[in-house]
């Protein structure tokens, strides 16, 4: 498809209506996602109030340096995504392709660093369910902390993986010139999703890594 023309689906009156519907649909989906993570954040809040000292101590076992690097990596990936959306809107093909590729590379880098952290926790027997040292002091509360750490970052990582796959598809279609300034809804919607996953991490990082860092 050399000319980028959007197909108008039968149920819509015009492309404008179709674009607005798709955009609203994505926002509502993100609201669902917000509540999905919301339950995990609630659990975190409950247990942090139940075990404040133990959470602070367990937080020190996380590698804040790697977490900080990952935060920077993810923010830069969002920059790539923003560049891609801008490129799609203005017809800047190079910017679009570069932005998407940057998001994919940095998103993958995030996953690799996260994997290294997970591996370290496994080595240190801090992986509830697989390998956990119940002989350590405050084992129960620490176990709850690490369970929440893996649940929250794990659900986040699943979302990021889906995001990377999504952006790969968008990149492929952009390469095939499927988007134009008139039609680039998929780029915008994947951008919304990407930024949402990014923002979730922005909250996860201080809540998990930085509880006790100022001491």
């Amino acid at each position: 498809m050399s000319e980028a023309v959007a197909a108008l689906e039968g149920q819509f009156r015009d492309l404008e209506q179709q674009r607005e519907a798709a955009s609203l649909g994505m926002w509502i989906f993100l609201m669902t996602e917000l509540l999905l993570f919301g339950a995990l954040f609630t659990a975190y809040a409950v247990y942090r109030f139940t075990y404040p000292q133990e959470f602070a101590a367990a937080s020190r076992d996380l590698e804040a340096g790697l977490g900080a690097i990952n935060t920077a990596v993810l923010i830069c990936s969002s920059l790539g995504m923003a560049l891609a959306v801008y490129g799609a809107q203005t017809g800047g093909r190079k910017r679009l392709l570069f932005g998407l590729a940057l998001a994919i590379v940095l998103g993958t880098a995030f996953m690799v660093i996260k994997g290294v952290e997970y591996y370290h926790h496994f080595e240190h027997a801090e992986f509830p369910g697989l390998r956990f040292d119940y002989a350590r002091p405050h084992a129960q509360a620490t176990q709850v902390f690490f369970f929440l750490y893996f649940a929250m970052t794990g659900v986040h990582a699943i979302h990021l993986t889906i995001g990377i796959a999504l952006v790969c598809v968008v990149l492929f279609k952009a390469w095939r010139r499927a988007y134009s300034p008139d039609y680039h809804t998929p780029v915008e919607l994947s951008g919304l999703y990407w930024h949402f996953v990014d923002i979730v991490w922005i909250f996860l990082f201080p809540l998990l890594y930085l509880i006790d860092i100022h001491k």
Partner: protein, 547 residues
């Protein structure tokens, strides 16, 4: 006015034939029928379990099934009826069919997503069937921890995954409906010209989108805790079992409103149309709908009065629960006021609507008993609770679903159902329902606990009454299955508008053409805009069909 007397006219049923054309359809009307067939199957599977329970409870000792089997029966009955019948019932069947027609659209905003929702539902249902065959689950539909994570020896993990799956069907349907209501309305159809059914479906969809993900993630945490023996809810491992209850009811109390708001929406259509009268207080009904959806999110703690939540939390939840009664009562008053001096037709859908008002009122008022801290301690976990929520869910939602199915049956199929049989069935359902569940209020108040397969001999008379009622109720539910299927072939042709009512869905042939309207309609008036109570407005119902 268009009619469909021409045999060859194209409609959504005859536009294409074959299994493929149904399994790959994106037409909201066909997907509605797919849902209808699936949930009907689930309804009778869940109903069969209820029949076994009522049979067991005819005699005081546990002689028909063991207590372990009985635990599985009430668990699977609850899970199937709540997640696989009630939640999809009116939204996925009537909502799917009617929402685009009522707003003058060709389809939902995302037709393929709509089909995907049905497949997701089917995957969840197949899971459930497999679990039933494999031996079931015995935790109760509430999955309370730590029993569900460390004690129960049944198929808890696959069941939570089945519910997790079907939850996404619910979320995606809700998302689709919200976007459709916002973006697909016909020219001139402003928010306050929307039929009240659309408002109800809209409010329900918001609850589905916001509440369901919380249940989804809680069930995942539960499954992980059970599978890997880690502690998040298990107190042995440092977890908090109350947290699970909070999460569960944060979804499952709003879910009660997923299970009643659409029913209220149906009744808000049936009453003004079949009384030929403008709805009394349209705006009040709208805001009451939104109010119920909003307050529904703030009352979940009233399920946990005796579970160990703080007394201040309990008092707050109690007061908030009372507040829900206000918008609910507004609706009941408005329906009643609409009937006043209307030309009330007593066709079958109206019988169901009137039944709904009465039974919902009883269910709602006994809900206030349960929201009161003192009384709840007395009747908690007794048959009083069972009777209360069955008055809402069966007496309310199922009655409304049957009323809606009858009212829109001519539109969906192009055929009239046999009015005489339908009235008889409605009467049987009403009598059977009350005989089944009213004795349970008394049983519960006298102290008979729920979820036991044996009971003290002094409760036998009321239990036998309840079981007898259940057998009558079963007949009442089987009858429509027979005569509605019969009418598909032998029912009289309905014509576009057999009820002679307003409403966009009736301004197009029955069954509707694939694109719903030949020309996109333009809306110029409020809904239910009947001439103000002109005396002697004839009830133009299908008199000939009335036996």
């Amino acid at each position: 006015m268009t009619t469909n007397v021409v045999e060859t006219e194209q409609n959504y049923l005859n536009v294409s034939y074959g299994v493929r054309s149904w399994l790959l359809t994106t037409d909201h009307k066909r997907i509605a029928l797919l849902y209808m067939a699936s949930i009907t199957l689930m309804f009778f599977v869940g109903g069969f379990m209820a029949v076994l329970m009522r049979l067991e409870l005819v005699t005081p000792p546990g002689d028909l099934v063991t207590s372990a089997t009985y635990n599985k029966l009430f668990t699977m009955h609850g899970i199937i009826m709540v997640f696989f019948f009630l939640i999809p019932s009116i939204p996925a069947v009537l909502g799917n069919f009617l929402l685009p027609m009522m707003i003058g659209a060709k389809d939902l905003a995302f037709p393929r997503l709509n089909l995907l929702s049905w497949y997701v539902y089917i995957v969840g249902s197949v899971f459930t069937f497999w679990i039933v065959i494999a031996g079931g689950v015995d935790t109760g539909w509430t999955f309370y921890t730590p029993f569900s994570t460390s004690s129960s020896n049944t198929h808890v993990i696959p069941m939570t995954l089945g519910i997790f799956t079907v939850g996404f069907s619910s979320i995606l349907t809700g998302l689709n409906f919200i976007v459709t209501t916002h973006k697909m309305r016909a020219p001139g159809l402003t928010w306050f010209r929307l039929p009240l059914f659309v408002w109800a479906i809209y409010a329900t969809s918001i609850i589905q989108v916001l509440a369901t993900p919380v249940l989804a993630i809680s069930l995942v945490l539960l499954a992980v805790e059970r599978a890997f023996h880690v502690g998040i809810f298990d107190p042995k491992l440092g977890g908090d079992p109350l947290l699970f209850q909070h999460f569960f009811w944060f979804y499952s109390h709003p879910a009660v409103y997923i299970m009643i708001l659409p029913g209220m929406g149906v009744v808000s259509e049936l009453i003004p149309h079949l009384a030929r009268k403008k709805i009394f207080g349209y705006n009040f009904v709208c805001f009451a709908t939104l109010g119920i959806a909003f307050f529904g999110f703030l009352v979940w703690g009233h399920h946990m009065f005796v579970a160990g939540e703080s007394v201040y939390a309990a008092m707050t939840f109690s007061i908030l629960s009372y507040l829900v009664a206000v918008p609910s009562a507004i609706k009941v008053f408005n329906w009643t006021a609409t009937l006043y001096k209307g030309s009330v037709s007593f066709a079958t859908p109206m019988l169901y609507a009137l039944g709904f008002i009465g039974l919902f009122t009883i269910g709602g008022l006994t809900g206030l008993f349960l929201a009161a801290l003192g009384i709840d301690v007395h009747v908690h976990d007794t048959y009083f609770v069972i009777a209360h929520f069955h008055y809402i869910m069966v007496g309310g939602m199922v009655m409304a679903y049957f009323g809606g199915i009858h009212y829109w049956w001519p539109k969906m199929t192009g055929r009239l159902y046999p009015e005489g049989w339908a009235k008889l069935a409605a009467l049987i359902v009403f009598v059977g329902f009350n005989l089944t569940f009213f004795p349970q209020f008394i049983l519960g108040y006298m102290g008979m606990p729920r979820r036991y397969h044996a009971y003290a001999p002094e409760f036998q008379v009321l239990n036998v009454m309840s079981s007898a009622g259940a057998s009558i109720l079963a007949v009442g539910y089987l009858l429509p299955l027979v005569y509605l299927l019969w009418s598909l072939r032998y029912g009289r042709e309905a014509g576009a508008n057999p009820w002679g009512v307003k409403g966009l869905e009736w301004q197009t042939p029955s069954p509707p053409p694939p694109e719903n309207f030949a020309v996109t309609p333009v809306v110029t008036e409020e809904p239910y805009n009947y001439p103000s109570a002109a005396p002697g407005v004839p009830s133009t119902l299908q008199e000939a069909e009335v036996v």
